[in-house]
């Protein structure tokens, strides 16, 4: 087991924890943070590969992910605020009016 593999495993774990966080945690803000965690995990794997290969392309992608993640948060937080205003709750379990 070399470093690359370990880092990749860490990346996979972070990604999965991020996913699982959305499943497990009820707080909407925590959920958003978990999504950030997912992207971070992916970033880690990208950087690992980039360094392994010594190529610039994944780094560009990581940069793009930064941008996208930022934009996502910038959009997500107002939406959550809006929801909080209407539902008076941060609990994701309360956001289930649409179903069926």
């Amino acid at each position: 087991m070399d470093k690359t593999t370990l880092l990749l495993c860490l990346a996979g774990a972070l990604f999965t924890i991020g996913l699982a966080g959305v499943v497990i945690r009820r707080n909407a803000l925590v959920m958003l943070m978990c999504m950030e965690l997912m992207l971070n995990g992916v970033n880690l794997s990208l950087v690992t590969f980039a360094q392994e290969r010594g190529d610039m392309a994944p780094a560009i992608l990581v940069f793009l992910v930064f941008v996208v993640a930022t934009a996502e948060v910038a959009l997500a937080i107002p939406i959550v605020l809006l929801l909080v205003k209407h539902r008076r709750s941060l609990d994701l379990g309360d956001y289930d009016v649409l179903k069926g």
């Binding site: 959305v22 009820r26 956001y95 289930d96 009016v97 179903k99 069926g100």
Partner: protein
């Protein structure tokens, strides 16, 4: 071949059709009753009479060419590949006899009807139906191909259906019509199968071709007996033989002229005609012939026993008809085709006369049909009485009259024919003859002799029928009296040779003749003894043999049996098994089950969509993990 008249035979058949169309259109509700009664009557009677005249013409033409059959193609009905179905008419000795009877008796009954039905509001319709019947009957006897015969065959069934149910306001009448039609249909199914078999074997349905093929022995492809039996199934339907005779007594629901024309003189003898026509087959089908003989004699016997105790004047005659038809089949079964036709002819005369006489009685009594409520009519309606006497005597086999000759010949061949004659056949037939004499004279006595048992009101209205009816009665009575002297078997012999006589039995002819005469008079005597005297005499016998009486007056409960064994199970199976279990439970049930399954699973799936992001993401995780694991397969 065709001198002067190009479509003579076609004209014979089509004339009544023209009458039907005219009257059917203009003398009924369809055309708003545009014809008066008189016009309708004129049209209706003129066509059969003209047809009769043409038949006579055709007969002379036939004679003129030495009784070579006249073949008259009309048109091609259908072409299929190399074979074709032609509509053609065929006129030989046999057809000639039948056509003459049909048009002749038909004409007089038409005339009779104009009197009998004069006051009926649907007179035009009635006459139209009669014409229609005649048309189909003529197709039946004139057709060259079995197809044409079958058209007529089913057509007369239709006419019979319409006429039995003529007074359809009474549901029972319509029911009787339906029964007749359906019973006939059962026979027709057999007929169809026989026809199919013949077509398969010969590629044609022309009867003369088929006959000669069988006679020349090229018909080995099919068993003659099988064909014979199938056709006989058809005949049992039309000619009211066991087991399909049940419709005929019910058919008396129709107006009496109908009973005379269709259910006595002509239509019911179609089966006899068919088998005589296809004699070529039966000659080579001893088994089938034997079956016919046995069925014939059994029918004759059992129908006669039922007739012994019937109280409805028409029912007695109906069972008598069944019985007489049995005689004819007996004759056919023992190979005496000519004799059977002979009996057809004589029977047509006397039975038509009897029915019309009965009609006259009913007419006179304003609709009463129960002979227990008659009596003493001898003086009130003398023409009817005397003609009735002659016809009764004829059917009973009183020597010298028509029935005697034909019946005696049947008895003789039943006894002695080389083609299946047997003593027991004769014995049964002779017993039947005895019973025939008995119940016919019983009928005569109860109706016309003795004191009147009519209600006062009915008695007051009794009147002799108009000349259109009595005149016809007299014609028919005369024919019943002298018809036997036209020796039909002899006339038909070139076409339908009589069977040889078993050598051992040759010398029995004279004794048997005497026996049958004795039987006729015994029947007469017994009838007079029981019914000419006090009413206690028959009553005593009835009491002594009460179970038997009940069995007979219940007609052996055959109708009930059929209802139990066939009718009800059919409905039960259709309703309970096929409809409820099959269609509703099994098919629709499983379909609706599937539909509700779909609905329910839709509901379930909709419940999965529970609105929770946790849950949605869990699905994503499951999918991701599952798909990744899946990708490990197939190393």
């Amino acid at each position: 071949m065709t001198s002067g008249f190009p479509h003579l035979l076609a004209a014979i058949a089509l004339l009544p059709l023209a009458g039907f169309l005219l009257n059917g259109t203009f003398a009924t509700a369809l055309g708003g009753h545009r014809f008066s009664h008189r016009t309708a009557a004129l049209v209706a009677c003129a066509t059969p009479i003209a047809a009769f005249a043409l038949t006579v013409m055709a007969f002379f033409q036939l004679q003129g060419q030495g009784f070579d059959p006249i073949v008259e193609p009309l048109y091609r009905w259908a072409t299929v590949g190399d074979s074709s179905f032609d509509i053609a008419f065929y006129f030989d000795r046999l057809s000639a006899v039948m056509t003459l009877i049909v048009t002749g008796v038909g004409s007089v009954i038409h005339i009779y009807s104009t009197g009998y039905m004069h006051d009926d509001k649907s007179f035009g319709r009635f006459m139209a139906y009669l014409n229609l019947f005649l048309f189909f009957m003529l197709l039946l006897v004139l057709g060259r191909s079995m197809l044409v015969l079958f058209v007529g065959w089913e057509g007369v069934g239709l006419a019979s259906y319409l006429l039995i149910g003529f007074w359809f306001d009474e549901l029972a009448n319509a029911q009787a019509g339906r029964k007749a039609f359906i019973t006939n249909r059962i026979g027709d199914a057999g007929f169809l199968l026989g026809m199919f078999l013949l077509y398969r074997a010969f590629g044609t349905l022309d009867m003369d071709t088929i006959n000669s093929a069988f006679i020349s022995g090229s018909g080995a492809m099919v068993s003659a007996s099988l064909v014979g039996l199938l056709l006989f199934v058809g005949a049992t339907g039309k000619s009211a033989q066991i087991p399909l005779y049940v419709w005929l007594p019910d058919a008396m629901a129709g107006p009496t002229p109908v009973s005379a024309l269709i259910h006595a003189a002509t239509m019911v003898t179609a089966g006899v005609y068919l088998i005589a026509r296809m004699a070529g087959i039966y000659v080579h089908a001893p088994e089938a012939s034997h079956v016919i003989a046995v069925v014939g004699v059994l029918t004759a016997f059992f129908a006669a026993t039922i007739a012994l105790v019937q109280t409805d004047i028409k029912k007695v005659l109906a069972y008598s008809t069944v019985s007489q038809l049995g005689f004819m089949f007996l004759a056919l079964g023992v190979g005496a085709y000519g004799v059977a036709i002979f009996h057809v002819v004589t029977h047509a005369f006397f039975k038509a006369c009897l029915f019309l006489g009965a009609g006259s009685v009913i007419h006179a009594l304003g609709g009463e049909q129960d002979i227990r409520k008659m009596g003493g009519l001898r003086t009130k309606i003398p023409f009817t009485f005397w003609t009735f006497v002659i016809a009764t005597a004829a059917i009973a086999g009183i020597p010298g009259l028509a029935g005697f000759f034909s019946k005696d010949e049947i008895l003789w061949y039943a006894f002695a024919s080389e083609a299946g004659g047997a003593t027991w056949l004769w014995a049964m037939a002779a017993m039947t003859a005895l019973m025939t004499a008995f119940y016919m004279f019983r009928l005569l006595w109860l109706t016309f002799m003795g004191p009147s048992r009519m209600s006062h009101e009915v008695e007051h209205h009794v009147h002799e029928s108009p000349f259109s009816m009595t005149g016809v009665l007299m014609v028919l009575a005369a024919l019943s009296a002298f018809g036997g002297y036209i020796h039909i078997p002899h006339f038909l012999e070139p076409l339908l040779p009589l069977p040889g006589v078993q050598v051992a039995k040759e010398h029995f002819e004279q004794p048997l003749l005497i026996v049958s005469i004795v039987l006729a008079f015994t029947g007469l005597g017994l009838a007079v003894f029981f019914f000419g005297g006090p009413a206690s005499r028959p009553e005593a016998v009835k009491q002594a043999l009460l179970p038997l009486h009940r069995l007979l007056s219940g007609k052996y409960f055959v109708d009930e049996l059929y209802e139990r064994v066939i009718g009800r199970p059919l409905v039960w199976i259709s309703e309970r098994v096929l409809l409820r279990m099959g269609d509703q439970m099994l098919l629709d049930g499983s379909l609706n089950g599937l539909a509700s399954l779909a609905q329910r699973s839709a509901g379930l799936l909709a419940r999965v969509q529970n609105g929770s992001l946790h849950f949605y993401m869990m699905f994503v995780m499951i999918g991701l993990a599952g798909a990744l694991l899946w990708s490990w397969r197939h190393g």
